[in-house]
């Protein structure tokens, strides 16, 4: 299915989701990019996963970007059956307590990736069964991947 057909199916079910247009002069892949409000995410993901014509059963990766004024969580979905791709972007305006509902109940593969985002970027995932630091030691302060992160000096006491 081409990007426009996918977009049509999705906007049919979720009117308020719209695609992110391709800006002239900016490099971008040929996938369809969607901007999704945080609270609609679980419902949309379940629809994308179990709806037969879409069948996005493979979550390639989840990552996060710190745009200095807002956070952004990116989901890269692939349908192994129809071979089409989709990128979901969730913007989190409030910088104090960024929070996104978890998708581990739809794709189990997101389990550690969400924990890594929580560990390195500080975005909490509501409903994650085991949300604690995965890469850094448990008593580490701060989230390194944030642009405003000041590395604490190594302490060898």
């Amino acid at each position: 299915m081409t990007n426009d057909e996918i977009l049509a199916v999705i906007t049919g079910k979720f009117p308020e989701i719209q695609a992110i247009p391709k800006v002239q002069g900016q490099a971008r892949g040929d996938e369809l990019y969607l901007s999704v409000p945080a609270q609609k995410l679980p419902e949309l993901c379940r629809f994308l996963r179990f709806d037969p014509p879409l069948a996005f059963d493979f979550l390639s990766f989840v990552t996060s970007v710190d745009w200095k004024d807002r956070y952004e969580v990116v989901y890269y979905l692939v349908s192994t059956l129809h071979k089409h791709k989709l990128v979901l972007k969730v913007n989190l305006a409030d910088r104090a307590t960024p929070e996104v509902p978890t998708v581990t109940d739809v794709w189990a593969g997101a389990d550690w990736q969400e924990r890594e985002i929580f560990d390195l970027m500080g975005i909490t995932f509501r409903g994650h069964y085991n949300l604690r630091r995965i890469l850094l030691p448990d008593d580490w302060e701060g989230h390194p991947l944030r642009k405003d992160y000041v590395p604490t000096p190594d302490r060898y006491d």
Partner: protein
């Protein structure tokens, strides 16, 4: 041509919190069969494993943070150290992502060289797996044969080509570092001819060894639904009978012109994960032979200005690394260094399935299952 995947039943696939009952065993981080610094916290009830919680982060070098401070060519050096057993494919995947954003045409000779070198790297990486998995199960000879003899030949070829044996950064943005030295292709052809016999040797030595089969068959079973739900890629996914390979599904470079097929298992047990990797070596040999027949002398580096700027925007390039679907998601703001780079590391995602895969098996099988998933900690911890 992959089959449909039925929606995974929630119960057995999704992770649950570990139960409290049972004796606690900590396997690692210093342990002979965890292939690097990985600790697996296992709770055991009698002889069977009730829960397993891999604990990673011992080799975390914050590659993604470092990348934000380096220019695009400098990052190639970082990617070597991700999956330190397959540095060639790491470089290639990163260069693919950047070239997709730069939209620069790559000369044909460079593409053929990249495929030859990539497939040689896949054989070398599978040789390491074959050797260490033999030791996990208790057979010491395959290690010396596969790791000692075959991989050394490949490393010698790489050393002749780019001067390094482990961190090559031979593949550059826009092509390859340098042309092949004289007689290099002849040496590769000789190696490929000999390698056919050696793979036959592995079959008799280990694959069809009754005790090896007894230790690995029907152990650590994985269904296609569970594999896709957990995001597993590479030989582990194909062993479950699910035909998925980036070289076929999302072709890059000149793979569409090559004739090769994808070895697939049936029930996703340890033996099939091992068997798929050995047959993949044969496919790689076929590809190298085809590339060697087609390669002609010519341009090996695209015309790129000394200091080039990647246009603002984002791009995701990925390829079939020996351990699975390795991808680089790069966001650039037009400056010489990327604004943000995320690495889709196959070992990191393949490793989380252990929480589910180890449940219910005996303690003696933990080592067999962990070895068969074939993870590299450099890629897991990034």
């Amino acid at each position: 041509m992959s089959q449909t995947t039925t929606p995974a039943s929630a119960a057995d696939v999704f992770p649950q919190a570990p139960p409290e009952k049972g004796m606690f065993i900590s396997l690692g981080p210093q342990h002979p069969s965890t292939h690097g610094v990985l600790r697996v916290a296992i709770t055991v009830d009698g002889e069977t494993v009730t829960s397993a919680q891999p604990d990673i982060g011992y080799l975390h070098r914050a590659t993604e943070k470092l990348a934000e401070k380096r220019t695009y060519p400098q990052i190639i050096v970082l990617t070597d150290r991700l999956d330190y057993l397959a540095a060639m494919t790491n470089n290639w995947s990163y260069c693919l992502a950047v070239e997709k954003m730069l939209a620069v045409p790559i000369p044909e000779r460079a593409e053929y060289l990249r495929i030859i070198v990539g497939e040689l790297q896949r054989i070398a990486s599978h040789c390491v797996f074959l050797g260490t998995y033999g030791i996990d199960i208790g057979a010491y000879t395959p290690f010396l044969v596969a790791f000692g003899r075959e991989r050394e030949r490949i490393l010698d070829l790489f050393e002749e080509l780019c001067g390094a044996r482990l961190t090559y950064n031979y593949i550059r943005i826009g092509g390859v570092m340098a042309d092949t030295p004289a007689g290099w292709e002849k040496k590769v052809r000789e190696f490929v001819k000999e390698m056919w016999g050696h793979i036959q040797e592995y079959d008799t030595l280990l694959t069809y060894n009754p005790i090896f089969m007894d230790r690995t068959q029907n152990i650590g079973l994985m269904t296609p639904e569970m594999a896709v739900a957990w995001g597993i890629t590479g030989p582990n996914l194909r062993a479950t009978g699910f035909r998925a390979d980036v070289r076929k599904d999302d072709p890059y470079s000149l793979y569409p012109q090559l004739k090769f097929d994808i070895p697939v298992g049936k029930q996703g047990d340890c033996w099939e994960r091992y068997q798929v990797r050995v047959s993949e070596m044969r496919e790689s040999l076929k590809m190298i032979e085809q590339c060697l027949d087609r390669i002609q002398p010519g341009e090996w580096m695209a015309k790129l200005p000394k200091v080039y700027r990647v246009p603002a925007g984002e791009g995701y390039g990925h390829l079939e690394a020996p351990r699975g679907d390795l991808g680089f998601y790069i966001i650039s703001d037009g400056s010489p260094s990327p604004y943000r780079m995320h690495i889709r590391a196959p070992s990191f995602i393949n490793l989380q399935v252990l929480q589910q895969l180890l449940k219910g098996w005996k303690v003696a099988d933990v080592v067999a299952i962990l070895g068969s998933v074939d993870i590299v900690l450099g890629e897991v911890d990034r």
